[in-house]
């Protein structure tokens, strides 16, 4: 059993917790604190929204098909040498 996290410790771990980059023990401690602390839950929503907006902004974009064709042509030229 780890020591319960206070607000400060929870917020320190928040970014890593949101990205699932914490140990199971830390995750459990963060979640236990969030379950009990409404102000930290609001803060969590704030950070989560920021993260989702970043993912969304980039995910729309993909490699243009005409560039992909040029790329394949260049690659096959190189491979055919």
């Amino acid at each position: 059993m780890t020591t319960p996290f206070d607000c400060r410790r929870t917020l320190d771990e928040l970014q890593d917790w949101l990205r699932r980059e914490v140990t199971p023990e830390t995750a459990a401690a963060v979640e236990a604190h969030l379950a009990l602390c409404a102000p930290c839950r609001v803060h969590q929503e704030f950070e989560q929204r920021f993260q989702v907006v970043l993912e969304r902004a980039s995910a729309q974009e993909c490699c243009p098909p005409e560039f992909r064709e040029r790329l394949l042509a260049a690659l096959r030229r190189e491979a055919g040498r």
Partner: protein, 182 residues
């Protein structure tokens, strides 16, 4: 020629990722295309050295990033030095305060503006943020691609996120979505 088919089968599923990262690092479509093409050609030349079954995305992103550093980064402005060492990580959350504590303003900033703000970050911060927060790579993979320790990745991400939140906040204020701090 069978070899090139195997190479393509491994590499082409990563093309969207390479293109997006190239786009964010160079900030230009034409440069991004050159960077991705150069990356794939280098990858093909080094294909014999790739261990089958290991992480092809991490391998390609390492090549892309090294190519970017040697060909592009030197010509472009080095990131302005920013001192954020004692910055409060939650400064923007506090600045927004009771106006929008759940951060809905982030969703009202349009994608192109978010991406422009990302492209304006200093190089080292931008590289870490693009790989981690935009592409969702684990910290360990970001560290491998950038050739830096995980601890350095985390401190760069900390600063990059803080800087980006500040810019998106300021943008939301300009648009009248948020009121300026008193």
């Amino acid at each position: 020629m069978a070899d090139v088919a195997v190479f393509e089968a491994e590499v082409l599923p990563q093309l969207d990722t390479l293109y997006r990262v190239g786009r964010r690092l160079t900030g230009e479509t034409a440069d991004a295309e050159d960077l991705v093409q150069e990356t794939l050609l280098r990858a093909w030349r080094g294909w014999a050295g790739f261990t089958q079954g290991s992480n092809v995305r991490a391998w390609l992103l390492t090549i892309l990033r090294n190519t970017f550093v040697s060909r592009w980064r030197s010509r472009k402005r080095e990131g302005t030095s920013i001192s954020l060492d004692d910055a409060d990580p939650h400064a923007i959350y506090r600045a927004v305060g009771s106006q929008d504590p759940e951060g809905h303003f982030f969703e009202r900033v349009v994608d192109t503006q978010v991406l422009a703000a990302v492209e304006g970050l200093p190089d080292g911060f931008r590289e870490a943020l693009v790989l981690s927060d935009l592409e969702g790579l684990p910290y360990a993979e970001v560290a491998a691609a950038l050739g830096i320790p995980v601890g350095t990745v985390k401190s760069r991400l900390f600063r990059a996120r803080r800087l980006l939140q500040t810019q998106l906040h300021d943008h939301a204020v300009e648009l009248g979505i948020l009121k300026a701090k008193p």
